[in-house]
Subunit: 284 residues, 6 copies
C-alpha cells in the first residue's frame, strides 16, 4: 500500500518523535464527566481545523515547513483522578524536557499548566511565567479544592516565586485577587510601553514559559470558551505583543478552548493560528 | 402598587407554601463548575418555558388550575461540595414530607435522587422506585466516586432493597450492569403487558417514588441532555404508561435536562409537558 | 430547614425591599405573542448568567457586596395590552421613586422606557435623558402606532423637552430622523471630547436617566439583539464613557436583549457586566 | 443574453401565470416587527430548499413536471395593518379563484387562512375545511383581539358553519376549546378508521379546503415552528392520510413555519416535501 | 514515560494492525457533495464521540472488548482528484482483504463505496450488496459526471450484476430510478416479511457487503447529513433488521455523515452506536 | 387585483430593467469551495435581510430611494460545469455593460469575478481592480485546477496586467504568494496614508472594478464565510476607506458569504449594509 494512514495530526507535524525539534501534545483534561465536553476535545478540534491553515506566517515571514515537528497525540490521562492526572502530566513534561524537545501543550483546562511548570522548574532551576488570561486564577482555594482552574496560578507562584509571574489581559477577579496582583506588581497591559517594562524584568538567559488561556481574547473573537468575559483583546493585539517578546521561551500551552460552544468555529481557527505564530516566533 | 412582581414560578404555581398541596422545588446541582452549565439551570428554564403550556391536559382531562401549587424556587446548595449537597437535599425533602406536601423535584443531575429517596424511606418505612432512564446508573462506583450520576441507582437500591426497583427505558450499560438487572429482574418495557406485570408487583398502599431522567426519551425528542442515546421513547409512549400507573406516588423528580444543548428548546418544552401530566395524574 | 430557597435573583440582590437602596426589576414586555420570545425573557436570563459575574469591578475598584440591593422579580404585565402595560409600568416606577429607591429596569423592549420617564419627570420636575442606542427611535409614528420601539424617544422628547435628550451610538435611521437630530443637536460620540461637551450641558443637580439599548454594541459583541447593526461599540468604549459620566443618575434601564438569538450567551454576559458597572458607578 | 435570470421560484413552478393550472403564492404575514422574523420569511426559505427536492413522488407515483405551475412570488402586504392585510388576502384569493387557478398558499402565520376561506366560501357557496394542526385555534378571542393565530378557526367556523370543520392532530388547548370540539364532533385521528369516518361526512362534490399548520408534526420532525408541542405526527402518518383523502380539494395552505428556529433545516425540507405531495394528490 | 499518547482511535480499537481481526479506516473524501458539505471530517468526529459509547451491546449481548480491533486512522487521499482517490481506495481495500482483515470503512461521501466494492468483487468473485439509504443513487450520470454520490450504486451494479443489489429505506428518486428499481426488484422494506424475502435471495456462502448512508435514518434522528429526507427509519427499526441479517458479511461502510450540521451531535452518536452493533453482529 | 406579487428583490430595487441605472444580479455559483460551502444561496439571503435596512446612509448622507435600481434575480447557471458557467457570466456581464448599467454582482464564490473582469476589460480597454480580501487568491493553480477561488486573482492579473491590481486586507497566504505580491507592490493597508498612496496610482478617468470577499472582515464581524481568518477589519475601517475612494467605479461584487454558517445573521446584515454604502458612494 503506497498511501499511509493519516493520523489526525496538527498541520505539518508529521515527523517522527526522534527527528523532531518541536513536539505538540494534547492534554485532554477537563472536570466534566459527560458526553458534552468542555475543553477535553479541544486538542483534536485544533488538529482538524489546522488543515485549513496556511503554513506560512506573513506576520513573522516564517514557514512551519522549515521546522521538524511531531504530533504526539493526546496523553492518556487517568480520567476523573485530578491528583494522578497532575502526576502523569508532570512526568510527561519531564520526559519531553529531558529529550530536549520544544513543546506545545494543548489543553484541556488551565489546571494542566501547574504540573508542566513544576517539571520545568525542577529541571531548569529558574522559571518565569507569562500568563495571557482573562482571569488571574489566583484564589487560595476554590470550593474547597486546591487544584482547579481558579487557583492554578496561585499554585504556580508557590513553585516559581512571586516575582516571576507576568499577567496580561486580566479582567474580572475578586477584590482580594486584584490586591494580591497589586502587591505582586504582576499586571501588565497590551501596550508597547507596558510590554517594554515587562521585558526589562526578564533577562536574556531567563527561562520563560507562556500560558495562553483562550478567554484572554474578547468573546467576539473567541466565543468558544468556558467563561467569556467582555473587554478582551483581538488577534492584532496578541500578535503585536508576541512579536515583541524576544525572550527564551522553553515551553508554552493553549488552554480552555471549549469546542462545543464554538458553533461558528472561529475560536478554534483563532487558536490554531496563534499556535502557528507562537511556534514560528519561539521555536524557529 | 397594584401589580405584584412575578417570581419566575412554574405556571399556576403561585400559591403560598402554606395553602399548597403540591410543591415544586429546584435542585440545581451539577458537577461542572464553569459558566457553561449542564443541568444546573434546568429548573429555571423549565419555569420560563412553562408559560407556554396550556394548564389543561386533554390526555387526562384535568386542569392544573384545580390544584393548589407553590413554587419554592431553587434550593441554595453548597456548590462544589457533593456530600454537603446530599445532606441539604435530604434535610429539605424530610421537611417537605413532614409538612405533608406532594413534591415535584426539578434537577439537576441524577445524583439528587439519592438523598430524596433516603428521606422518603426514613419517613415512610417502605418505598418502591420506578426509574425512567436510558442508563441504569447501577455501577458500584464511577471514577472512584460513590455518589455520581452513574452510581445513583446502586446507592438507592442499598437504601430500599433489591426488590423495590423498577426500571424502564434502559438502553446502554456495561455487561455487569445488565447481568445485575437480570438478577434483580428490574427491567420492564414500554408495553401494556410489561407495565401490567410491573403493577402486579406494587400493592395498593405501597409508597412509590418516580424518577425521570430526560434521556429516557429518544434524542430526536430530547436532544438537550448530557448523554443522548438512540432508541428511546417518545411522548406518546410515556403518557400511555403514566396513564396506567394507578399507584400511590409520594414524590417524583425530573433530572438531567441540559438547556445549553437544547437550542430548539423542544427538550425543555417536553419536560414541562410531562411535569404537567405527572402532577395531574399523581397529585390530583 | 436551614437552607432557603433561592429565587433567581441578580447576583448579590438578596436583601429585603425595605432595607435596599437599589432595586432591580424586570419589565418583560415585548410585542410577540408566541413561545419564541424576543426580549421578554431577557430579565431572567440576565439573572441566571449573573451568577458567573465577579461582584468586584476592577474598572471602578468597587464591589457589589457593599451595596444593599434587592431583586424585585418581574412585574406582572397585562400581556398583549400596550396602553395598560404602559400605565402599569408608570405606576410602578412612581412607587419606586416615592420609596426613594435607585432602580435598575431590565427590559423588555425599548417601549418600556417611555412610562418610566413619565414617572420620573412627573416626580422630579426636570429630567435629562442619555440614550445609548444604535437606532434613534425618533419616528413620529411607526406602522400607524404611536407607542413602539421605533417611536419611543420621540414620545420621550414630548415629555422632557427637545433640549434634554443626549444620544450616543446612533447608526441607522431615516433621513428625517437624522435631520431632526441635527436640529436637536442631540447626537454625541464615543470620544473624550464629545462626552466632555455633553457633560457641559448637564448641571450638577440635573436629574439624569440613562437608557441602554443593547444594540448600541457592535453585533460582534452583542449578536443577541432584535436588530443587529454593524459599526457599534465594544465594552471598552462603553466603560470609558461611563467612567466620565459624573452626573446625578436617578434611574437607568437595559433593553432589547434577545436571549433566543444569543446562542453563545456572550450578549447576555455583556449585559450582566454593564449592569454591574452602572450600579457601581451611579448607585454606589 | 441566452440565460434568463432565475427568480427564486418553487421547483418546477416556472410557467407563466396564464398557462398555469396551479399557482403558488407567498403570504408573508406575521405579527412581529423586528429583523428576527417568525413565519414571514417561510415562503422564500421553502422556495430555496425546494431545489433539493426530487420532482417525482414515489408515494403517489406522479411527477411535478407533469403539471403547469407558476410561482406568483410573495404578495405585498400592508405590513403592520392586520385588517387591511386580511382584506388584501381575500381580494387576491378571489381573483385567483375567478381565474380558475388551483392555489398553494404559503404562510405566514395561521391568521392568513381566514380571508382565504372567506373568498372560497363567497364564491363556492359551500365549503368544508380540514385542519392539520397541534392547536385547535378555537378561542373566542385572544388578548382582546378577534383575528389572531389562536382564534382563526373560530372565525372560520363563523363563516362556514359548525358542521364543516374537521380537525386532525390537535394536542393542547383549553378545557373550553376541548368541550367546544366535543360539541362540534370535529376531532379526528391519524388512523384508518377515523379518516374513513371523516370521509363519510364529505360528499363527492363538496368543496374542501385544507390548512396545514406545521406544528401538527412532532417537534422532533419540525422543530422550526413557533410553538413546538410534543406528541405530533411524522411524515409517514401524514402521507398515509393524504393518500386516503379522495375529496375535491379547491385550495390549501401551509402555515407557521419559522425558519429562524430551523437551524438544521429539516422542518423546511419537510414543508417542501408535503407541498409536493399535496400538489400531486389534489391538483394532478 | 509510562503513559502512551492516545491517538484519537475508535473506542477499544487500540490493538496493533497485525494482531487485529477488525480494522477501522477513515476515507475522508467529500468533494462532490451538492446541498451540504463536510462528510470529510466524519471519521474523526465518530472516533471522538465513540468514547461516550458503552462497549457492551444489550441488543446483541456481546462486547467490543472481546474483539481485536485496530484503528488505521484516515487514509491520506489525493484531495480534489476523484479518479486518483478511487484508485487509492481500491488499492487499500485490496490490501486489507489480502491481509484477511474484516473492515469498517468510515466515509466520506457515498462515492467511496464504489472502489471498495471493486476490490471485494475482484478478490472474491461473487458479491452481493445491501444498501441502507434514503436515495437509490442509481442515476446513469449526474451533472455530466459518472462518479458521484448520485450515481454510485449504478456503477456498483455494473460491477456486481443487476441481481446482486438489495436496497432498503429508499425514499426520493427520479421516475427513471424508481422504474429501474422495479425492473431490478431491488427494493425491500423494514418489515419482517420483506427482510425474510431478502434473505431468501442470499445463500449461506454468498459474500455480502453492507453500505449504510446515514440519511436512511429520519432527519429527526440524523439531522447531520447532506440531504435530510423525511420518512426515514429510527434506531429500533435498524437494529431489528440487523439482528435478522444472518449472512456472511465481508465488509461494511458508514457514509455521508455531515458533522457540521450535527449541532446537537445526536447524528454522530447514532453513527457510533450502529458501528458498534454492526461490528458485534457481523465480525464477532 | 391591486397588489402585485413581491419578488424577493433587494430593498428599493423594484424598478424595471429598462428604467434602471443600477442592476443587482445574483451569481449563485459555489461548486469549488473547499472548507465550507454554500455561497450559492447568499444572493437570496442578502435580499431577504435587506428589508431590515434603512435606505438612508448617515455615513454618506444619501438615500437609495434617489436611485433607479432593478433586481435582475439570480442568473441561471449551468450547475456543475465551471467553464460553461464562466462563459455565461462573461456573456451576461457584457450585455449589462452594453446596456450601460452600473452593476452590483452578488456571489457566489470568488471565481465569478474572473469572467466579469474579462467582460469589462474587453469592453473598456483598461481596467484597474481593487480587491478587499483576506486571501490573495494568487496561486498559479490549486489542486490541479486553473479556475478556483484560490487562483482567481492570478487569472485576473493575466487579463488586466500586473500593475493594475490593488489588494487590501490580505492575511494568510503561501510564501510564494507573499513574494509575488511584494514583486507586484500590490499590497495596501487600511490606513489613510496607504489609501492615499493607492489613489495616487489611479488616474481620474481610469476604470476601476471593486471585488469584496466577505472574509476581508474579521471573523467576529463576519463568521458566515467559508474560511474565517482572524485579524480582519470591521465596518468602520471599511467605510472609512470607501469614503476616500473617489475613483471611477464601473462595477463591483460581493462574494463568499456563506449563509449556512451565519446563524446569528450578522454577516448577512453586514453584507447588506456595505452594498448600500457602495451603491451610494459609487453609483449615486
Amino acid at each position: 500500500m503506497n498511501y499511509h494512514p493519516q493520523y489526525n495530526n496538527f498541520i505539518t507535524a508529521d515527523r517522527s518523535y526522534k527527528e523532531s525539534e518541536v513536539v505538540i501534545i494534547g492534554l485532554p483534561f477537563d472536570s466534566t464527566s459527560s458526553f458534552r465536553p468542555g475543553s477535553r476535545f479541544a486538542p483534536n478540534q485544533i488538529r482538524t481545523i489546522s488543515y485549513n491553515l496556511e503554513t506560512y506566517s506573513p506576520y513573522l515571514e516564517r514557514d512551519l515547513e522549515s521546522i521538524a515537528i511531531t504530533d504526539y497525540g493526546d496523553l492518556e490521562l487517568p480520567f476523573g483522578n485530578v491528583m494522578k492526572t497532575i502526576e502523569v502530566i508532570e512526568e510527561t513534561a519531564s520526559k519531553l524536557i529531558n529529550d530536549d524537545k520544544k513543546v506545545v501543550y494543548l489543553g484541556g483546562e488551565h489546571t494542566i499548566t501547574y504540573p508542566i511548570i513544576k517539571a520545568y522548574k525542577k529541571k531548569l532551576g529558574n522559571l518565569k511565567v507569562i500568563q495571557f488570561d482573562a482571569h488571574c486564577d489566583l484564589r487560595e482555594n476554590y470550593l474547597g479544592d486546591k487544584f482547579t482552574h481558579a487557583t492554578v496560578m496561585r499554585r504556580i507562584i508557590e513553585e516559581i516565586g512571586e516575582k516571576n509571574i507576568f499577567q496580561l489581559g486580566i479582567r474580572p477577579g475578586t477584590k482580594e485577587e486584584f490586591e494580591y496582583m497589586k502587591k505582586l506588581a504582576s499586571l501588565y497591559y497590551f501596550s508597547k510601553d507596558s510590554i517594554t517594562k515587562l521585558l526589562s524584568n526578564i533577562k536574556e538567559d531567563d527561562n520563560v514559559y507562556l500560558t495562553v488561556d483562550m478567554d484572554v481574547f474578547d468573546p467576539s473573537n473567541a466565543p468558544g470558551v468556558g467563561t467569556p468575559e467582555a473587554g478582551g483583546i483581538d488577534f492584532s493585539q496578541f500578535i503585536d505583543v508576541i512579536k515583541m517578546l524576544d525572550v527564551n521561551v522553553v515551553g508554552f500551552d493553549i488552554v480552555e478552548l471549549a469546542p462545543d460552544y464554538d458553533i461558528s468555529k472561529i475560536s478554534t481557527a483563532l487558536a490554531t493560528k496563534i499556535i502557528r505564530e507562537m511556534i514560528l516566533k519561539f521555536y524557529y
